[in-house]
Every structure is written in structure tokens, then in C-alpha cells.
Subunit: 368 residues, 2 copies
């Protein structure tokens, strides 16, 4: 709490200020202290769906606390590099971060399960696993070692399979392919003969243009459009089977969180939930328009063949079998998530998918 | 604000109480008054997904306000009949309500668009239309006449098509069928020869048992299981094409809402968003288990035939054409929602549906 500012705003009437504030401060400080935090994001401002999410988050937290709880947001690289958000919060450099946990796959592959794994959950299933399936508890038990608390605060929804310079008809076409893809998805791709490449967002376009890489995955139409890949790698594949959803987390240092009044803790949780819906809604609203625009400028929309998907599914299960054997953290969360997937997909086959597929047929027949 | 309680809790030290509270009260009363509201639900306690949602909502609002904003919840019939929630909030009998707006279809068919219409949006599309597609504004502009503000605060997700005593193979099998179904869906069914029946939840079972009705729709596996329909009408059809989602609203009297401090207004909005996710997650987590149990006790899971779906789609469009011509409110919101549907389904056909359908095939092949 910034004591000086509190006294200035809480005092009523010039003469009474000193006494009143001095006496009343302890009780009020407990319930509504003034707090100023910094939040660093893994994403640049140009990814306005994601970075726009934390601006929104900070705004609603301020509104819910009469501007007493202020969170200043920073884009990737402004104060902390994009892939060091976890470390910065863990070390107390900043109080909060916005990140995708699978960026820390190198520390422990278990992190991937907090975002998404190949052929994992879709967006609804992920939210449900987190909220009702024990996911939140499992993730936060794992995060204790890293001194942070995680709250799901966004989702990219199902992503695209990325941009390819040539068609991929069979699994053989993947052999030797240099593709910008990272983490667990890269491990699965390796089993299929792909040579994964690690390239930062801004360097992908020239690499595709020169042919240093043959393919690159990014997010989905709205985010992809900005990077202009369509001009140099027009085959736009779907679905991104390695990202049936991608949950983003808002993270807080455990000590910082525990020191907050209970009211502010609850407000952070609610604001994260609201921001999760906000970001998801933005992707759902903005992707269709971007997809139309991409097709108009030459994107050749291509489904991965059933053969490629089946082989990828087998390769993913191979990778999981190895991880489950070696890593107890991974095993525990993986088994919970996969049991949830089994039930969720079963139920999805009934009302949800048949409704969506009927509507898709009407769309294909131009009846909508 | 309950002034006496404020003084008791805000005072620090026996001697200082009177002076401190008297001087500090006005500023603090503005930002965090004690408020006690009543919320009446359209749903009975036995629908614990829905009524449980308002209990959750009241709990998190209290937690976010240090128990200063208390909302007492009442189930349908406790203080207000379930289908008169809108009227009770409109008239100021209670400050808040939980309801599905399509119950007020008789007042104006436009209400249906705030919940769901046949072959309308799915759950993700509905949330996105509300949050990013102008839906919230359109709904609330319409609600002004009724003196309430609506916040989406839950969703049943895609519903089932209900329980039938005999198989429905063709559109001809629908002719003369007495079915418990209401509102706009009832109007569409009428075009197909069905004779819609209005029956309260508790009376459906005996009506199906005696054959007074031939079919009845309710919600989905988790809610349906409790009413035991499987014993008397075992054919369990999907999808409930009249409810690809069903958005539930938390409603507040406009004057009551406007009189709240901005902080409490924001807390209500965030709590509604969190509760929307909470209820959706519960359905997604609980429906699969209930579906398994229903199948084990004799439910015969049946998809509506393509012919039945196509004929229903045509009938729905006929009904909409009539409403658009007669009702300017309906026309305005319908056109916004249908434009959003067109884009949403188009994008869904790409990454989302192909991912879901691949996973569904793995489920069918017992590979999950």
C-alpha cells in the first residue's frame, strides 16, 4: 500500500484529515489497499488479441477496485524478454505475467499440458477440465516449485496447421521438411521425419521467402494475416492438430498473491475468467473475416490428409509413452487430461458435433 | 447501506469509534456500501447445474466485496414462480433474477434470440456474438422496455433432441406427434405436423408413461437423467437442433444497477462471466458420465435423420421469414445474429470441426 496516496484520497475535510486517516487506516488498508503491480507479457503489442487481453484485464481489475489495484502492462521485451516471463514472476522481478506455459517445455515437458498437447483437448474441454475436472489444482500443484499461481486467462482456440511452400499429400512429403515448430509438437514432427526449426516471429517471413524453411506454423487467420506468409508459402493447412486449443495463463508470484486481501484475490480470479472469455470471443469473431481476406489474397486452404493425421496421432502417442515413463509430473497430469478427453470427445460426438456438422453442411451448400 | 453494521466493523478502538466512523463514512460508503439483494431463479434446486450457478455467483460476489454485497438466492416458486422472473425484476419485487429469456417468447418472440433459436448459434458462437459481435448491446437495447439489464451468466451447451416413445425415421413420423416442446421450437415443429404440448417438468414423466404425449424434450443427459424418462420413452434423439446452445441470463433492474457503485457494477459483470464459464464447464464435465449411465439403463441413442434435419431447417427459415416481416425488434437482432452465424460456421468448418471430427473418429475406433 502507498500510504501517502491513501491518506490523500481517504481524508474527508481539511481539518479532519490527519486524525481520521491515522485512526481508520488499519481496518481499511486490510480491505482495499492501493496496489501497483507490473505485468509482463510473452506477446508483442502487434498480437493485439493476446496483448489486448492483458490491457483489458488490467482495466477491469482497476474498475472493480475503484482504481486502487493498478496493473501496468508491458509487452514482450519492454522489461522482460517474451520467453522469460515465468522466470521474471518466479524471481519477483514483476508481480504478474501473461504467458503460454508450453514455452517452458525445456524446463519440464509437463508445462505443455497446461497449454495444450498434440491431439489434446479442444477449447471447451480445456476450460471444463481446468474448472471442473481437477485441472486447475493439478496445474497449480505442479507450479508450486516455480513459486507461481496460474489462472487461465485466454485461449487462441483451435489453431491452423501453418503455411507450406508446397503441398503435403502423404507422410512421405513430410520427410526432411524444415518446419518452424517448437516444443512437444516439434518432437512429434521429428518422428514423422520433419526437421523442426526454432525461429522468432519476425524472422519467419524471410526464412520462408528464401526457402531456409519449407513451412511454418503460427496461430490462426487473424494473427497469421499480419505476418504476410500467404505471399511466400500459400498452402494453408488445417487443422493444427498440435493445438486443438491453446490456453494462456495469467501468472502471479505465490507470495504476492497470498499477501493480497481475499477480495483482491477473488477479483483477480474473476477478471482472469472474464478475460479468458474476452480473448476467446475475439478470436471467434476476428478469425472468420481474416480467413476470407487470406483466401482472397491467394491462400490455398488445404486439409491435412487422413493418412497424415493418423500417422501424427500414432507419433504423438509414442512421444507420450516415453514421457509418461520418465516423468512423474507429466504422467499424473497427462492421465487426468486424457481421461477427461476420452469422456469429452465421446459426449461431443453426440449433440455438439452433429449440430455443428449439420450447420457446416448448410454453410457448404450456401444456405446460411 | 446498513449504517449500524458499517460503524461496528469500520471502527477501530473503542474510544475512537464514534468520531472516526462519522467523519470517514461518506467517502467509504460511496465505494463499498453494504448491500443486500434478492435473486430469484427460474429453476428448481434439483437442476443443480443451473441453480448451483446462482449460488456460485452469489458466493463470488460476496468474496470480491468482503461480504458487503450479499445476494440471497431463491429457487423457482420460493418467492416468485419460475416463469415470472422477468416480471418480478421489472416490477422491482426482487433486484435480480436468473432466467432463460426464451420463456418470455409470448411477450415478444425477440426474447428467443437472447437465449437461442432453432439452428442458431452454438455455445462459442453465442458467447462471441454477445461479447464481440454487438449482441450484448442489441439485447440490452431491447430489454430497456422491460426495465432490466441482462448479463449472460451460463449456458446449457448443445442440448439433446429429447425422449421419444417410438422411432422417428422420416418427417412423416412427426405428423400428429404430441411433443412437449415450447416457444419458437414449438412453432417450427408445428410446421412439421407436430402438436406441441406445454407441460411443466414434474408432469412430463406421467404424461409419457400414459402416452398422453409421445415425446418430450428437456435439456441433456445430466439434467434428463434425474427425471427418469429412459424408462418410458427410451429413444433418445440428437442433436436438439432447436438448442445448439442455450444462454442463461442474470438480470438486474436498470435503476438498481445504476444505483450501484461502479466497482460493484464491474464485479457483477465479472462474476456473471465467471459463472457463465462455471455452468458451461459443469455441463461439459457432467454430461458424459450421465450419458454413459443412461445408455447402461436402456437409452437408445438415435441421430435425427438428415431428411428430418433438412425439413426442420426449412421450416425454421419459414418461421423466421414471418417474424422478420412482422417484428422490427426481431428483425434487427436476428439479422445481426445470422450474419455472425454465417461467418462463425464458415470458420468452424476449417480448424475447429476438422479437429473435433478427427478426435471423434479416434473415439469411435476406441483409440482414446
Amino acid at each position: 500500500m502507498q500510504r501517502r496516496k491513501f491518506i490523500r484520497t481517504a481524508g474527508v475535510g481539511a481539518a479532519a484529515v490527519a486524525t481520521t486517516a491515522a485512526v481508520a487506516a488499519p481496518a481499511i488498508a486490510q480491505s482495499a489497499p492501493e496496489i501497483n503491480w507490473r505485468l509482463t507479457s510473452s506477446f508483442p503489442k502487434s498480437l493485439d488479441t493476446l496483448y489486448g487481453g492483458v490491457e483489458h484485464f488490467a482495466k477491469i481489475v482497476a474498475e472493480a477496485t475503484d482504481n486502487k489495484f493498478q496493473i501496468r502492462t508491458f509487452a514482450a521485451g519492454e522489461i522482460v524478454p517474451g520467453l522469460q516471463v515465468l522466470d521474471a514472476v518466479q524471481n519477483g522481478t514483476v508481480e504478474m505475467g501473461q504467458t503460454a506455459f508450453y514455452y517452458y517445455y525445456g524446463k519440464d515437458p509437463t508445462f505443455a499440458l497446461a497449454t495444450v498437447v498434440p491431439f489434446g483437448l479442444n477449447t471447451r474441454q480445456m476450460n471444463s477440465w481446468v474448472i471442473q475436472g481437477g485441472g486447475e489444482q493439478l496445474i497449480n500443484d505442479f507450479l508450486k516449485t516455480y513459486n507461481v499461481i496460474g489462472m487461465v486467462g485466454g485461449n487462441t482456440t483451435a489453431q491452423m496447421g501453418g503455411w507450406f511452400r508446397k503441398e503435403i499429400k502423404t507422410v512421405d512429403d513430410l520427410k526432411g521438411l524444415k518446419m518452424r515448430i517448437a516444443g512437444l509438437a516439434g518432437d512429434v514432427m521429428t518422428k514423422l521425419g520433419v526437421v523442426p526449426q526454432q525461429i522468432a516471429g519476425g524472422d519467419i517471413y524471410p526464412a520462408l521467402e528464401k526457402g531456409t524453411v519449407d513451412a511454418a506454423e503460427w496461430v490462426g487467420p487473424y494473427d497469421d494475416q499480419k505476418l504476410g506468409f500467404v505471399k511466400v508459402a500459400p498452402y494453408y493447412y488445417y487443422p493444427g492438430w498440435w493445438e486443438g486449443n491453446a490456453a494462456l495463463h495469467l501468472i502471479v508470484g505465490i507470495d504476492k498473491f497470498n499477501a493480497l486481501p481475499k477480495t483482491y484475490q477473488q477479483i483477480l480470479r474473476m477478471a482472469a475468467a472474464e478475460t479468458n472469455a474476452f480473448i476467446t470471443a475475439r478470436y471467434d469473431a476476428d478469425n472468420p473475416k481474416a480467413l476470407r481476406a487470406l483466401i482472397a489474397t491467394g491462400a490455398k486452404l488445404m486439409p491435412f490428409s487422413q493418412q497424415v493425421l493418423e500417422a501424427s496421432f500414432v507419433a504423438a502417442n509414442d512421444v507420450y509413452a516415453g514421457l509418461v515413463e520418465k516423468n512423474a509430473n507429466f504422467k499424473k497430469i497427462y492421465e487426468s487430461q486424457m481421461a477427461f478427453r476420452k469422456d469429452g470427445v465421446l459426449w461431443g460426438r453426440v449433440a455438439e458435433n452433429t449440430f455443428d456438422n449439420f450447420m457446416a453442411r448448410q454453410s457448404a451448400a450456401n444456405k446460411l
